[in-house]
Amino acid sequence: MTQHLAPKTPERRVIAGIALCAALAFVAAVASVSSISVLPPRIEARQLEIAGASARVLVDYPRPLLSDRLATGGDYRTLQKRAVLLGNIMASRPVREIVARRAGIDARQISSTARVTAAVQDAFSDTVSERRATEIRISASRYELEVQPDPIIPSVGVYARAPTVAQAVRIANAAVPAMRDYLGAVARREGSDPRSQVVLEQPGTARGALINGGARVEIFGLTFVFVFVLVAFALLLGTKLRRGFALGGSPSAAARVPTQRAPLPQTVREARRRRRPAVAPAFAQRLRIGVTPALAVAGASASAVPLPGGLRRTSDVRLALLSRRAALKAGDWPRTTRALPWMLAGMMGIVWLVPFNEIQLSYSLPIDLKLDRLVLPFLVATWALALAAGGAGAPRVRLTWIHLGIGGVAVAYLLSLVVGARNLNQTLELDTSVKQLTLLTAYISLFVIVASSVRRTEVSAFLRYTLVLAAICAIGTIWEYRFAYNVFYSASQALLPGVFTVGEAESSAVDAIGRRLVRGPGAVPLEAVTMLAMGLPIAIVGLMQSKVTRARVLYGLAVAIIFAATLSTERKSALLAPLSVFVTLAYFRRRELMRLAPLGVGIGVMMLALTPGAAQSVVGQLGGEQLDSVATVSDRTSDYDAVRPDVLSHLAFGRGFGSFKPPVHRVLDMELLGTLVQVGIVGLMAYLLMIASVVGVARRPIRERTPRDAAVALSAAGAAVVLLVVSTLFDVMSFPHCPYIALWMAGLLAVVVSRPPESESEAAWSS
């Protein structure tokens, strides 16, 4: 029966597969925004709209001070403090119950909170676990009343959240009468004169509006895309497995598996000659006119050797020939006419030397268009067109474990959003999270493009190019340390047209514990440290592998400059990140590294000469007392307690990718902790597996010790370990220079492991 229903032709199978994906995705998407019941059959739209309303309350004496020229500063200070007190009482349970009664809603469904707006130290205003737990509880309520006392004047802002605008307005309007009721009741109970109470004045009725427009569409779209991709992937995997199973089980399997592709015809005439026997059935099969599938297959197989890539038409062959001729002329980067490697080189030049995350268009747009997000679309578009056009130079996507690792991260992060979408909508954070997907897409795009566009024979050149960029970046950073002048920011400011706004780099500024803010092209010093540390393994591996003195000197110089530049940032991580590189390389190449020990002395001296005082500053910070007393350490340790409520309330999938961001939430100085909070244990595991996949994939080329491949593998493994180490030190994925570089290195490694060296030239014709 199943056999009978199964689509007969490949086209129909594909259409059936797409239809199945679309149907399942549609059902899931509908379920995400509606509640579906089977008995009785019913689909009801979920309540996803959130409305907000605001009102102001002025606090004054019975004899108003507003127009009294004899009012004193003391009067207003007293009133302002009283307003803060009243604001907090307004958010208390007794007043909340009166508000609920007056607004005609269930008192159990409303929560209230008063925000700290007074000028207190950050430590008091930063979210601690207890307050965060309350916030989580409040966000789950159907109705919310938020009170914000003004820190300067005696007034209070009242904000209400409800499913409808009318309800939100009713709640906001009920706050002042409820407060008056409460104060009157207290006065009566305590026997005080109600006339001596403060006067609460609401200048105008509350105003309300919908505050989460488009959430329904966002949730629907997210779920649809996620389920569609997931089902499509599952179907593809299932088909592959089934096919492999069927071929493996059949005695004639080997005979049926095409072992070798036919060479491309040299001329159009040859192509026509080769195609002729299969023309009629194939054409008929394509049009499905009076040809049984069996006949079509027979006709197709009648051709002695099929044309590569399913070429059937003369124009296709002509195009393939044109592509081949072009490919013959196009050499390897940098001596190539291929656009994609040059575009990639340009992109990496921007990543290493331009503070792109601090540069954006001056125009007001719904999304922040940073420089990388302006450049990358051109790269992606060219790649997509080249892929679609096919031919010899077309990018070829070949899956590796790194692809799967990165794909796993994408799936886990998207899953956290799909699962947490309704909760994020309730907390008004869905928009923020969805916007973060752009950044994730940008990272993944770069990896996929590198892994599919770079030739294996180009990897060494690109690795050297990366080292040159890292060295230039290091020289600029050292210059900034020595002369308090950030050449990256200044050059960007000078070279970019006026439509771009470039951020400021205060190179001579110091942080709270007196360290210079040397940041290179990054936004913060730690970003520069990470970038440089990821470039460091290339120089060390080059030094280990070079046999010529000149090369040794140059690589040694590069090591000294890059290491010195990391130290010039005066961060503790400037020692830890390079140390992780040395440990990684020592794990794989102990003897070679030991042989470099004498050179290390010279490099160390040079390093100290380049950045006088920096090394001492860094080492000094690692002393026991220093380490315990500085805020940079205590802030990090306090993060563990602060995120407990969020972690425990969404343990598996997190509260949603990109949803725990300042200024609404606390700054988490640890990527792993941020990942755990946002994407849960599943996402954290995916993130760790992604890093592990790079190191795991690198092991084979490292073991095989082919100089060219091993150099890439060691460098990529070093960069991956740096990413892991800095993930425990700061929120590295929020600073795009670092993930771009890490994924660039991973992409180069994927090229090396996915393309066997002997098939490089042949692979060029096998699209």
Partner: protein, 244 residues
């Protein structure tokens, strides 16, 4: 080199690419408003803007009386701006300007934030500020300086000027009404006349239509190339299945 292949595909599919030309021209003409249907040219209607500033002061100007207590004037100015956000004042200003109260929106000042506000207050403030109204008036205090600025955005220059004048009068009225005694009242002094300007109606530049047409054509061409790729893969899959 990839570009050569892409150009090759475009040349191979030249008929499909050529179809993009009328499509692009259509998009350009639509945006230029040269067709009887479609969105037409985006014309921004003319608006009137008015601005005036007032000083909250003692009867004896504080600039001439060093003995006067002036340190609360900034706070009082900020509170006055809050009071002006009320419905009663809005109705009075609308009446004074000769417009319907429903057509006037007074943008309320925000709570001074020393720390990050919550998303609820942030989103609500943004959404409420975008409520539609023909005329919008914003009264802001430059605390701690006792100066209030009245900004009006109205359909015409004349209406904007009338609203600003009415708002300035309303400030005086409010201060007079709330004074404990006439002698202790604060006064509102205009800092110059109401300045009004008419913004002419503007139509979208023809360059936008040209750019849109160009973009539409590029998009069409890219779509043709991508479709070519999809068909190619489809054919390959069919061929492979047929061979197998």
């Amino acid at each position: 080199m990839e570009l050569l292949t892409i150009v090759g595909v475009i040349s191979q599919r030249r008929f499909a690419v050529a179809l993009g030309l009328p499509f692009a021209v259509l998009v350009g003409l639509l945006l230029a408003g040269m067709l009887p249907f479609g969105p037409g040219p985006a014309t921004t209607p003319g608006r009137g803007l008015a601005e005036t500033r007032v000083l909250l002061d003692h009867r004896t100007p504080i600039v001439a009386d060093l003995g006067a207590i002036s340190d609360t004037l900034g706070t009082q100015a900020a509170l006055l701006a809050e009071v002006m956000g009320g419905d009663t004042t809005r109705d009075a200003i609308a009446r004074g300007a000769g417009i319907r109260p429903a057509d006037l929106l007074i943008r309320r000042p925000q709570v001074a934030q020393l720390f990050a506000p919550g998303l609820l207050s942030q989103r609500t403030t943004e959404a409420v500020a975008d409520l539609p109204a023909a005329s919008v008036i914003a009264i802001t205090a430059a605390s701690p300086i006792p100066v209030l600025t009245i900004d009006v955005n109205a359909p015409t220059r004349d209406i904007a000027q009338r609203i600003a004048t009415a708002a300035r009068e309303m400030l005086r009225t409010v201060m007079a009404e709330r004074a404990p005694t006439r002698g202790r009242a604060l006064v509102v002094r205009p800092l110059g006349a109401v300045r009004a300007v008419a913004l002419p109606a503007s139509t979208r530049s023809p360059l936008v239509a040209v750019a849109a047409a160009l973009f539409a054509f590029v998009f069409w061409v890219c779509s043709v190339v991508v479709l070519h790729g999809v068909l190619r893969v489809w054919r390959q899959a069919s061929a492979a299945a047929a061979t197998a």
